[in-house]
């Protein structure tokens, strides 16, 4: 098996790196530092780490207040709490005033370490990408997660970063430079375009390889920045293939699939199928079982691609 690395591990390491590089960077934690690996910074640079307790609404407001002073606060908690419990706070004191607060949303999707639906959020992309001034980023692996953190730290505005919990394969080159708003072509083929984001990109690549063995040539586009969307790349996928399949560990409502369908409906109408969760919450369980039950496995992606092609 190839090297596996968790996004949260590299998050902790990269926070140390960012704080060492820039005296304005601080991290605010909602009492989950040992889950999100923010505890690495708490040990390495305790004066830059602010424990805010189990009080997530205040957490966002404190970060906003710090940002008005020119500090560069990062907020670290679970995606479920940031995207939903803190929604009004993010809207009013972060997004509307366009303050430089980075929202590190850990444990995104449904693979959250046996926590069940209360600790999972399946519509955070939909929520965040519909919010004016908000940028939304979902890296596929740990190396891209680090590169994204370095890139957004130089961007003055609110960013929602969606991180996954568990160790996963690395496909991003170690020297990768993250360009905010740029999608990446991982493979080119004329039969079907597959557009994916976050950790689901890893399963999409495996699915594309399996499809090739069956003689189906696919283009795979990884979209780590869901907002602003790389419209040109997505239209290019639609123009150069026969149909488009979107894949995400998220609801089919309003996430990457929604964004792609909206764009292509206006700019390049083609047949689109969205793979993701269909108006359901997740549950507790081992990752593989969750992926299979909720239709996100490599086999689910290949099946969806074949079905879509069969309708043409």
């Amino acid at each position: 098996m190839s090297t596996q690395l968790a996004q949260r591990e590299i998050f902790g390491d990269t926070m140390i790196e960012l704080c060492a590089r820039d005296p304005r960077v601080v991290l605010l934690d909602g009492d989950l530092a040992n889950s999100t690996k923010s505890d690495k910074l708490a040990s390495a640079a305790p004066d830059r780490f602010f424990m805010m307790g189990i009080a997530e609404q205040n957490l966002i407001g404190v970060a906003a207040g710090m940002a008005t002073l020119g500090l560069r606060p990062w907020v670290s908690s679970f995606a479920a709490f940031i995207a939903t419990r803190d929604l009004d706070q993010i809207r009013v004191v972060v997004a509307q005033p366009n303050l430089n607060v980075k929202l590190a949303a850990h444990y995104s999707g449904i693979m959250t370490g046996y926590t069940g639906k209360t600790h999972q959020v399946v519509n955070d992309i939909a929520i965040m990408r519909s919010m004016p001034n908000m940028t939304v980023v979902a890296p596929c692996d740990a190396i891209e997660a680090r590169a994204a953190m370095l890139a957004v730290s130089e961007f003055a505005g609110p960013v929602y970063l969606r991180f996954t919990r568990d160790p996963a394969e690395i496909i991003t080159p170690a020297d990768h430079t993250f360009q905010l708003g740029q999608a990446l072509f991982l493979r080119r083929g004329a039969d079907i375009g597959i557009i994916a984001t976050g950790g689901q990109t890893l399963r999409t690549i495996a699915a594309a390889a399996a499809l090739e063995r069956e003689g189906i040539q696919s283009t795979v586009l990884h979209v780590p920045t869901i907002k602003p969307l790389d419209a040109a790349a997505i239209v290019e996928v639609a123009r150069s293939t026969r149909c488009v399949l979107t894949c995400e560990e998220h609801s089919v409502f309003g996430g990457l699939g929604g964004a792609v369908a909206e764009l292509l409906g206006e700019r390049c109408p083609v047949r689109v199928h969205r793979l993701g969760l269909h108006d359901v919450d997740g549950e507790s369980g081992p990752n593989q079982a969750l992926i299979e039950k909720y239709g996100l496995s490599v086999d689910d992606v290949t099946r969806a691609a074949r079905s879509l092609l069969a309708t043409l």
Partner: protein, 287 residues
């Protein structure tokens, strides 16, 4: 500045607020009238600010957490020289910098956008924490409404501020005893009979580890003394619990929940302005 001068400025804030709200046909009144002397004292005596440099790094910060009283804040900013008082008549108009609730992206001089209640104290905590980290000596002042402290986030912020011993943070509670609608008393819902939005705030804030000061929010000398006492707080955040009257200064608006926010007729405005002018005359010609 002398107390009578601050009373006069307070009345000027009231007058300009009433004119702007009447002109806009909408806006909150009662909670501005209860806070008018305190806004005057803050901007003309307490805050270390420079209207010519609204983004001066070392300025004291002020957050109006009860953001629906924005027009009162705009009025005092204009009187203090941040912008021309004529602009107050653009309140709530399209393209105005004077939004219904304070929008820091539009108007220099606003240290935080507020409006969704219960959210103003947390950024104040962030400013005080950040000031400590940056070695800045400015103070952070946050005005709270008595209704909005029903929000849980206020108490999250109160807890964290005490845990960090933020002694450069001072909250001001405008305890005017009415909220937008409120709870009925045993006699039911009448205009002036409502349960207090908060019971015994002194004990509540003290229990959260804050230094608690009390004053009559309509007496500048008392409010200024509380602000001085707040500056002397060490190791704890402080709160000034200001006893006030909602609608203060206009007899038919005082203690009537309906004047939280209600359009005025022309006659209402004339009567209110006449009362405020009379109050100023009672203060004498001033210094």
């Amino acid at each position: 500045m002398k107390s009578d001068d601050l009373l006069r400025i307070g009345n000027d804030i009231r007058r300009r607020t009433l004119r702007a709200v009447h002109h806009a046909g909408a806006g909150h009144i009662g909670g501005v009238l209860s806070a008018a002397e305190m806004l005057a004292a803050l901007y003309f005596s307490v805050l270390r600010i420079d209207p010519q440099r609204p983004l001066w790094e070392d300025r004291d910060r002020f957050i109006l957490s009860k953001g629906h009283c924005s027009i009162g804040l705009y009025a005092v900013l204009a009187l203090r020289g941040y912008f021309s008082p004529e602009e107050l008549q653009t309140f709530d108009a399209i393209d105005s910098r004077l939004q219904g609730h304070p929008d820091m992206t539009k108007l220099p001089g606003l240290d935080m956008s507020t409006g969704s209640l219960g959210q103003g104290l947390s950024p104040g905590v962030g400013m005080a924490l950040g000031a400590r980290m940056l070695g800045k000596e400015f103070r952070t002042w946050v005005m709270l409404g008595d209704g909005e402290i029903q929000e849980g986030q206020i108490w999250e912020a109160a807890f964290v501020a005490a845990r960090y011993g933020l002694d450069t943070l001072t909250a001001i509670l405008d305890w005017n005893h009415l909220q937008q609608f409120g709870w009925a008393t045993s006699t039911g819902y009448t205009n002036s009979s409502r349960l207090d939005p908060v019971e015994n705030p002194v004990a509540k804030w003290r229990a959260f580890g804050w230094d608690v000061l009390e004053c009559d929010g309509h007496k500048p000398e008392e409010f200024l003394a509380s602000c001085e006492a707040a500056r002397a707080a060490r190791g704890r955040p402080s709160i000034i619990i200001a006893h006030t009257i909602k609608g203060k200064g206009v007899s038919f608006m005082e203690r009537d929940y309906a004047w939280h926010s209600k359009p005025m007729t022309d006659a209402d405005l004339e009567r209110a302005l006449a009362e405020l002018d009379a109050a100023d005359r009672r203060l004498g010609s001033g210094s």
